[in-house]
Subunit: 362 residues, 2 copies
């Protein structure tokens, strides 16, 4: 469908935009959305950009019953010289297709959808906030739309893409947070869906998050489901440990999401000649490093926060305070560099950003 | 909310009913549905029975993103003397609340919802098919309705209940099926959601089901995610093995759904003084029993099929043909007894069925 034309219906009256200081995460949406449908006969078809508005579904629609639903998330930024940059969207669309495959959802044409991303962002470009730390979050998702209670893959789907201006994750500088190491609940297991971005991977984590919050922690550190020993992720982010001047992150062994931020952090570290290893790391090893004074920095990496410094790890009775609850130098440098590249302030030696050109929708 | 009145808006023109011979599973819905809303301030409120019809949701609605959604399923039958019986609905509503708890969804008032079930079934009682083996399937489900991309429990929900006349699972007598023992994909793991009826538990199984079908099997036999050794469930059913005159089913250890049919089978077997054990059973033990000639019957148990005899288990290279692919005597007796009780043909010594009284909605 590479050359299919996207039908565009523009909104008559634009919505009022929220004050850029008060943006949260994903509560306000732009004026338009992109939508297309899938059927066995037609494949993905009828792509259109329409005014943002409700969708009507039969109560027997299969997504409500069996969560055959995948999504992804990435960001567009406005540069100081007024260009629009999207951070590594090809990687997100590739991952979206990997998620589709895991849930038996028909794949999308990545090139075509990238075109749709650009057109939608272009049309709603005055929704890209410019305040420091803000951005326009792009959320494509796919839902199964067969009206059927049968526990089988749907034969019809909807692809929907919405845009949400999001606030600065750290409005007043970094604030390294406390993390609860979760030893009861599991996020993912080999043979499950942990490596995919399925809707069903997220709400099962609420219970552990609730437990972490009750103990005053910001997030959960997930261990492997089998031995509760190997570190997997933190909240909805990948996790990195700086121990004795080396950086370690768990490998992509089937239970961990392949984060685009993770990938970018690894590439940056290699570029800087900082030793970085994708390898199994146990919570016991982290604790030993802490005891020996070698645990220098811990941080999460993901699209929403970019880099999230961790100030304390709580593992049963053990409280490991990291870098005196201050943001480490490497965490800060990674954050500054990534944000710098994303917003066009720094050079982009890897060609990570994709520019939305002006003439696109003319 | 025990005494809240359910607002009833009746449909003007009734829909045409499908021919009872052509009913599938969950493709046709009755004239009305039950719906109620939840908010933090009001709790569950505004319960109503309305004409069956589409619901309108903002594309940013959280259920699409993170599958905070649970459901249950049970059946109503029309007896020969024209009464309406529902099979163990209290158990399903109790289980629905357990599912809610696992996904941080506010619990429902089980007594009130049972009243709603009866009223809805009563209003749409001419949708209960009477052909042998048919029934009216009742599907309550709850979805998170906050318009937010934040990965946190919703503060608002919709409870929806729909009715679907379903066909005979076995229109021409039992047909023992082949099953693929799955050794790569996992359904559930300790600390996950396997013991709950969450939407997100189902679509992850499609991939394994696809694999099973390609090899000519009807369903998947799930092993434990950790050692791929212990038997858990078959398709979306619990599983039973009759070995040397004893019946064995895996225990409810946190990864298996507590099936109401499973529970009923166990109670019936105890009532009949047939030895029945809820204990760990490995695929290796089943294979050994097969080799020694002790593997007498294998069957699935669940609301849709009631009892589903298994004719062959395919485990890697091993093909275990069970009872010459014929339905075993115990499987048949369990099926006949359960169906007999459900349809009011046999006495109900356990008080399993709940009758919908005529005067309910007058
Ligand atoms: C489970 C999980 N892990 C990691 C990530 C980080 O991935 P990315 O850097 O692509 O945002 C995310 C968020 O996208 C996630 O949901
Ligand atoms: C995963 C799973 N196991 C078992 C069952 C059987 O439970 P029940 O007998 O209550 O229908 C079901 C279906 O409800 C199920 O979805």
């Amino acid at each position: 469908m590479r050359n299919t034309k996207i039908n565009i219906e523009r909104r008559k009256n634009k919505k009022t935009k929220p004050a850029p200081e008060n943006l949260g995460f994903g509560t306000v949406y732009s004026d338009h959305m992109f939508i297309m449908d899938y059927s066995t006969e037609k494949g993905w078809h009828s792509p259109k950009i329409t005014p943002y508005g409700p969708i009507s579904l039969d109560p027997g629609t299969s997504v409500f019953q069996y969560a055959q639903s995948v999504f992804d998330g990435f960001k567009a930024y406005r540069t100081e010289d007024n260009r629009i940059l999207i951070f590594r969207p090809e990687e997100n669309l590739k991952r979206l297709n990997a998620s589709c495959d895991r849930l038996c959802i028909p794949s999308i044409d990545e090139e075509f959808v990238l075109k749709a991303v650009k057109q939608l962002v272009d049309i709603d470009q005055d929704w890209i906030p410019t305040l420091k730390g803000t951005s326009l979050y792009i959320r494509p998702y796919i839902i199964a739309t067969d009206v059927s209670l049968s526990v089988t893959p749907s034969k019809t789907y909807k692809f929907i893409m919405i845009l949400s201006p999001v606030g600065a994750y750290y409005s007043e500088g970094f604030n390294p947070v406390g993390i609860n190491v979760e030893e009861t609940y599991a996020r993912a297991v080999k043979g499950g869906t942990g490596a995919a971005k399925t809707a069903g991977n997220y709400s099962p984590g609420y219970k552990a998050q609730e437990k972490a919050s009750e103990k005053g922690n910001a997030q959960v550190l997930w261990l492997d489901a089998i031995e509760k020993k190997y570190i997997e992720e933190v909240g909805s982010m990948n996790v990195f440990f700086k121990i004795n001047n080396e950086v370690i992150t768990p490998p992509l062994n089937g239970t961990i999401l392949s984060g685009i931020t993770r990938m970018s952090v690894i590439e940056l570290l290699k570029y800087w000649n900082v030793p970085v290893y994708e390898r199994d790391i146990t919570i016991e090893e982290v604790h030993q490093a802490y005891v020996n004074g070698g645990l220098e920095e811990v941080f999460g990496a993901g699209t929403a926060a970019v880099i999230a410094p961790i100030g304390q790890l709580n593992w049963g009775d053990q409280e490991m305070v990291i870098n005196n609850k201050q943001t480490g130098g490497l965490s800060q440098k990674l954050f500054d560099t990534l944000i710098g590249i994303q917003t066009g302030k720094l050079e982009d030696p890897f060609n990570w950003t994709v520019e939305v050109e002006k003439e696109l929708t003319l």
